[in-house]
C-alpha cells in the first residue's frame, strides 16, 4: 500500500468508527505516568464520560478536575503539554494507542467508539520525561541552531523588499515551512535514539525535521548564503548520512511534509559540497 493509500484507509477507518460511536458512553484512559526524571513509571487507568466532540485534551481536563482512578484511588492530575489545540503549535504530541500524534486532534469517537473502549497514552520515548506525558524537546530545537535554520538578513531596518519568487517555488517552500517542530518524525525514526546528554547532541542524528529545514533555507534567495555551513553541519557524524531510509518520518508527519524528498535533496547537496571542498583543497 502506498503512503497515500494508507492515509486514505486510515481516514476511512476513523470515519467508520465515528458512525458507530455510542452516545453517553464512558471510555477507559490507560496512562503511563512518571513523577519526574529518574523516577519509575507506572500505569493508571481512568474512566471518563465522553462529551460531544471530545478529544484526548478535553478528556485529560476532566481527569484533572476529578483525578480518581478506576479502582477508586485518589491521585494527582496528569501532567501534559499543550497549546493551541488546533494542531498548529505542535505542543501536545504524545504516543496514543502506540502511534505518535497530536492529542488535540485525536477524537474519542474515532479511537474509542464503544462503551469501555481503552485509549492508552504514553509520553514520546525519544525525549527525557519531565513528568507524566510532558517531555523535554530541547534537543529538537537545538538541531535548528545546528543547521542555522534562518535567513541571515542584514538587520531589521527598512531596506526594501526581499527576493522575487515564482508561485511554484513559494508553494514548495510553504510546504516545508509548515513544520511545527512537534517531533513525530523523530519518535518514529529508528536512527533517532534518546540522548540525555546535551554535549552529545551535535554528533548524534540530527533528525528529518532539521534536514528539511536546512533545505527550506537553502532554497531562499538570501538564506542560501549559509548553504556551505549547513552542508558542513550535515556532513559529519549525526548528519544526513545517518538516515537509514526507513521512511517512517514521512508517514507520521501530521503536516504531510515531504521529508524523504528533503533528505534526498540535502544528501545530494552534501555530496556535491564535499567534492567541491576536496578540489578546493579544504579537506
Amino acid at each position: 500500500m502506498s503512503d497515500a493509500e494508507a492515509h486514505a484507509y486510515d481516514a476511512d477507518m476513523r470515519r467508520a468508527n465515528r458512525k458507530k460511536a455510542v452516545e453517553g458512553r464512558s471510555v477507559i484512559f490507560k496512562i503511563k505516568r512518571c513523577d519526574g526524571p529518574g523516577k519509575p513509571s507506572r500505569w493508571e487507568s481512568f474512566k471518563v464520560p465522553v462529551e460531544q466532540g471530545a478529544n484526548v485534551i478535553s478528556s485529560l481536563k476532566l481527569i484533572a478536575a476529578k483525578p480518581i482512578t478506576t479502582d477508586g484511588t485518589k491521585t494527582t492530575p496528569v501532567v501534559w503539554d499543550s497549546g493551541c489545540l488546533e494542531e498548529v503549535c505542535g505542543a501536545c504530541t504524545m504516543v496514543i494507542n502506540g502511534r505518535v500524534r497530536q492529542s488535540c486532534s485525536c477524537l474519542i469517537d474515532e479511537y474509542a467508539p464503544l462503551e469501555g473502549d481503552v485509549i492508552t497514552l504514553e509520553p514520546m520515548s525519544k525525549f527525557p520525561v519531565i513528568r507524566d506525558l510532558w517531555v523535554d524537546r530541547d534537543r529538537l530545537f537545538h538541531a535548528l541552531t545546528r543547521v542555522k535554520a534562518w535567513v541571515p538578513i542584514d538587520g531589521t531596518y527598512n531596506m526594501g523588499a526581499g527576493p522575487k519568487e515564482s508561485p511554484d517555488h513559494q508553494q514548495m517552500r510553504y510546504a516545508l515551512s509548515e513544520c511545527m517542530s512537534c517531533g513525530c518524525c523523530l519518535e518514529a525514526c529508528p536512527q533517532y535514539t534518546k540522548e540525555d546528554e546535551p554535549e552529545k547532541w551535535d554528533t548524534s542524528f540530527v533528525g528529518a525535521h532539521a534536514i528539511s529545514q536546512a533545505r527550506l533555507f537553502n532554497e531562499h534567495g538570501t538564506g542560501k548564503r549559509l548553504k556551505g555551513d549547513r552542508y558542513d553541519a550535515l556532513s559529519g557524524p549525526g548528519g544526513v548520512s545517518d538516515c537509514g531510509n526507513a521512511q517512517n518520518c514521512v508517514k507520521v508527519c501530521p503536516k504531510g511534509i515531504p521529508l524523504t524528498e528533503s533528505i534526498g535533496a540535502v544528501g545530494r547537496g552534501t555530496t556535491v559540497h564535499a567534492i567541491k571542498r576536496f578540489f578546493e583543497g579544504k579537506k
Partner: protein
C-alpha cells in the same frame, strides 16, 4: 565600557520576538521569558493575513492614511489615534522586512506578493501565507531570535512563568527594575534584574472559558501587572467572532472568508427540528442574516453577525436541536472550488468535527476571540498635528500627511507604549492602544510586530538614557523581598492541598469553569446593567471560594495544577474589571452592546475606561479618561440603515470605503 544594562521581554509571540530582535540588534542583551517554547506561542493560530498599503492599492487611490482612517472607524473611535497613524505608515515596510526574513508570502504569477480582500476595505491590502499567516510570521521571527540566541545576544528562558513585576520607588518615581518568575519544571522561584521590562503576553480569552485562544491565554501576566499598579484600559472591549466551531475543549476559529466565498447562515424554522440539515427543504430554513439584513446578507460585519446568531439561539431558542449552534452552509458551492479557496479551514473542520463541510453544513457559534483592551499605555505624539481634526478620508483624495516615520509618534521617545509605571512596557495584544472598540481583521499581526519594531527603539533609548541608577546597582533587598512575597503566595496555595474534604466547589478547575460560564453569559455579545450586576455578585462568590480553594496536586516538581490555580485568581480579578467597566459604560460602541443603552453616547463615553486595582478591596476602581485623539473627527458609524420587521437595531457600521462602493 561594558554596557551592563539588560532588558527583559515577557512573552514570545510576534510582539515579544519582534521586540527581542530589535533590542538585541541595538546591542542591549535580552532575557526572553515564555511559558512555552516561543515557537508554540498563540500567534501561530492567526489565519487570514496582515494589512498594509501596497503599490497596487496605492495606484487605485489607497494610502497608508486610508488604512489609518479605516482602523479608527472600525474601532468606533476608541483607539488612540497617533499610534494608529504611525502603525499604518510603517505597515508596508514591515511587510518588506518579513519578506526579507523569508516568510513564504503567496505570490502572483509574475512573482510579486499576492494580496487578498478583507473586511473593512474596498482595496486588496491583506498579505498572506496560505491559511496560516500567523504561524509563518511567528516562525520567521523565531528563526531570527534563534540566530541572536546562538550569538549570545538573546537568552531564552522557556518554561518560565512570569509572576510579578519588581518595582522601586513610589508615585511618580516608581519604576520597574525586574521580575519574579518561576521555573515550571523545577518550581524554583527567583528574581531577575532588568532596566526595562516589556510585557508581550497577549490576550485573556480563558477568562471566558472556551474561546478561540490557546490554553496559555489566561491574561494572568497582565492581571499581575495590573495588581501591581499598572492601569488596564478598556477591559470591557472583547471581540466575539461570529463563526467558530464549538468544541469540548475550545472553540476553533472558522475564518470570515467562508462567508466571503458564499457561506449562508441558517437555522431550521421549526424549533427542535431533528432532521438532517440536507433533508430540510429550502422553504423550511430561516436564513438569519439574509432575512434580517437584506442589503448586506451574510456579509454584515462581525459584531452584528455575532449579535444576530446569539439572538436567534439564546433569546428565541431556535438553535439547531435547541443547542447554541447555527448552520454555516457552503454545500451549494462546487466541492473542488471550496478545496481550492478554503482548503485549510475545510480541513480543520473535517479533522475536529468529523463531517466534510463540502457536503454537510458546518455547525458554528460565536466565540470570544480577541481583547482590544489591555494594559494602559502612553506615548509622545509625532510632528503631524493638524489645526483641527479632519473628517472622513475618501479614496483618491489628496492625503493630509505622507507616510514617513515620525508623524504619528516621536520615534524612540522613552514613553512610547510604556505603562503608567516607568520602565514597564506593553506590546502587542496586551497593549490597549490600537484597536478601540472593535479590531479590523488582519490588523492584529500588524500591531504586534509594529510595537516590537517601532517601540523596541524606545525601550533601548530608555535603558540607555532614561535610567539613572542601573538595575545592577539596586539593593539586593528589593529583589529578595519580591521573591519572598511570591514564595509566600506560592506556599499558601500549596498549603491548601488535602486540607479539605474534597469539596468539589473548591476545586480550581470547577471555579474556572463557573467563571468562564458566567463571563460568557453576562459580558460578551449582549450586555445589560442588571445582568452585569449579577455577574459582579457571582465573581464575589467565586473570589471567596478561590480563597478557600483546595489544590489537587502537592508535588514539588512540574506542578501544572498550581500554575493553573494561581491564574484562576488572576482571571477573577481581570473578570471583575471587565464586568465593572462594562456596567459603567452606559452606551453601545463597537463590540460593547448594551440593550439598555443601545446608542453611542459620545458626550459621556468617548472616553477610555481605565481600571486601577484597589489593593484594599481587591476590586477595580474605574475612571473614564479622554481618548487621545485630535487627528480625525468623530463621525457616525451607521450607514445604510434598513428596518426589517422586529429588528430595531441600526445597521452596523460598514467601513467607509466599502460602504461607498
Amino acid at each position: 565600557m561594558a554596557d551592563e544594562k539588560r532588558v527583559i521581554v515577557v512573552g514570545g509571540g510576534l510582539a515579544g520576538l519582534a521586540a527581542s530582535v530589535r533590542v538585541a540588534e541595538a546591542g542591549v542583551p535580552v532575557d526572553l521569558f515564555s511559558m512555552v517554547p516561543v515557537k508554540r506561542s498563540h500567534s501561530v493560530c492567526a489565519q487570514g493575513g496582515i494589512n498594509a498599503c501596497n503599490e497596487v492599492a496605492r495606484q487605485q487611490g489607497y494610502s497608508e492614511y486610508q488604512h489609518f482612517d479605516e482602523t479608527l472607524i472600525g474601532g468606533d473611535f476608541l483607539n488612540d489615534q497617533h499610534p494608529v497613524l504611525e502603525m499604518a505608515n510603517w505597515a508596508p515596510k514591515i511587510i518588506d522586512l518579513l519578506d526579507r526574513m523569508g516568510v513564504p508570502f503567496n505570490r502572483s504569477s509574475e512573482g510579486f506578493r499576492d494580496l487578498r480582500l478583507f473586511g473593512g476595505s474596498l482595496f486588496k491590502r491583506t498579505h498572506f501565507a496560505g491559511a496560516t499567516t500567523g504561524q509563518q510570521l511567528l516562525y520567521a521571527l523565531d528563526e531570527q531570535t534563534r540566530r541572536f540566541a546562538a550569538e549570545g545576544k538573546v537568552n531564552k528562558m522557556e518554561f518560565w512563568e512570569f509572576l510579578w513585576p519588581i518595582t522601586e520607588g513610589e508615585g511618580e518615581d516608581k519604576r520597574c527594575v525586574g521580575i519574579v518568575a518561576q521555573d515550571m519544571r523545577t518550581m524554583q522561584i527567583r528574581s531577575f534584574r532588568a532596566d526595562a521590562v516589556v510585557m508581550a503576553t497577549g490576550g485573556c480569552g480563558l477568562v471566558f472559558g472556551k474561546s478561540t485562544n490557546s490554553i496559555i491565554c489566561t491574561g494572568g501576566a497582565a492581571s499581575r501587572c495590573y495588581q501591581a499598579g499598572a492601569w488596564y484600559g478598556n477591559p470591557e472591549m472583547i471581540q466575539v467572532h461570529p463563526t467558530a466551531i464549538p468544541g469540548a475543549d475550545k472553540c476553533r476559529l472558522m475564518s470570515e472568508s467562508a462567508r466571503g466565498e458564499g457561506g449562508r447562515v441558517w437555522v431550521p424554522k421549526k424549533k427542535g427540528d431533528t432532521r438532517r440539515p440536507t433533508d430540510i427543504p429550502e422553504n423550511e430554513r430561516y436564513y438569519i442574516l439574509e432575512e434580517r439584513y437584506p442589503k448586506y446578507g451574510n456579509l454584515v460585519p462581525r459584531d452584528i453577525a455575532t449579535r444576530e446568531i446569539f439572538d436567534v439561539c439564546v433569546n428565541e431558542g431556535m438553535g439547531i436541536n435547541g443547542t447554541n449552534q447555527v448552520y454555516l452552509d457552503l454545500t451549494h458551492r462546487d466541492p473542488e472550488y471550496l478545496t481550492q479557496k478554503l482548503g485549510g479551514i475545510m480541513d480543520i473542520y473535517e479533522k475536529f468535527v468529523g463531517d466534510d463541510p463540502r457536503y454537510t453544513p458546518m455547525r458554528i457559534f460565536p466565540a470570544v476571540h480577541y481583547s482590544m483592551g489591555g494594559l494602559w499605555t502612553t506615548y509622545t505624539p509625532g510632528d503631524y498635528q493638524p489645526d483641527s481634526p479632519l473628517g472622513e478620508h475618501k479614496p483618491g483624495n489628496p492625503i493630509p500627511i505622507d507616510a514617513q516615520p515620525g508623524h504619528g509618534l516621536t520615534i524612540g521617545a522613552h514613553n512610547n507604549a510604556m505603562t503608567n509605571i516607568s520602565g514597564l512596557y506593553a506590546f502587542g495584544e496586551v497593549n490597549f492602544a490600537y484597536h478601540g472598540a472593535t479590531r479590523l481583521g488582519a490588523n492584529a499581526l500588524l500591531s504586534c510586530i509594529f510595537d516590537g519594531l517601532c517601540n523596541g527603539v524606545s525601550v533601548v533609548n530608555y535603558v540607555r538614557e532614561g535610567v539613572d541608577t542601573p538595575a545592577s546597582e539596586i539593593p539586593q533587598t528589593v529583589y529578595d523581598q519580591a521573591e519572598k512575597s511570591e514564595q509566600e503566595k506560592h506556599d499558601k496555595i500549596m498549603g491548601s492541598v488535602n486540607t479539605g474534604k474534597g469539596d468539589q466547589s473548591l476545586n480550581p478547575y470547577q471555579i474556572a469553569n463557573e467563571l468562564g460560564e458566567e463571563m460568557n453569559a453576562a459580558s460578551t455579545v449582549v450586555k445589560t446593567g442588571p445582568r452585569l450586576e449579577k455577574c459582579l455578585a457571582k465573581l464575589d462568590e467565586l473570589w471567596d471560594r478561590y480563597n478557600r480553594m483546595e489544590l489537587g496536586d502537592g508535588a514539588m516538581w512540574t506542578n501544572q495544577s498550581l500554575s493553573f490555580a494561581r491564574s484562576v485568581g488572576d482571571m477573577i480579578i481581570l473578570g471583575e474589571a471587565i464586568a465593572k467597566a462594562g456596567l459603567l459604560r452606559e452606551e453601545s460602541r463597537g463590540s460593547h452592546y448594551r440593550t439598555d443603552f443601545p446608542e453611542r453616547d459620545d458626550e459621556k463615553f468617548w472616553k477610555a475606561s481605565v481600571a486601577k486595582f484597589n489593593s484594599e478591596t481587591n476590586r477595580s476602581d474605574i475612571e473614564f479618561m479622554p481618548v487621545k485623539a485630535g487627528l480625525v473627527k468623530l463621525r457616525p458609524r451607521n450607514y445604510g440603515k434598513v428596518d426589517s420587521g422586529t429588528n430595531k437595531e441600526k445597521i452596523p457600521p460598514k467601513p467607509v470605503a466599502e460602504a461607498k462602493a
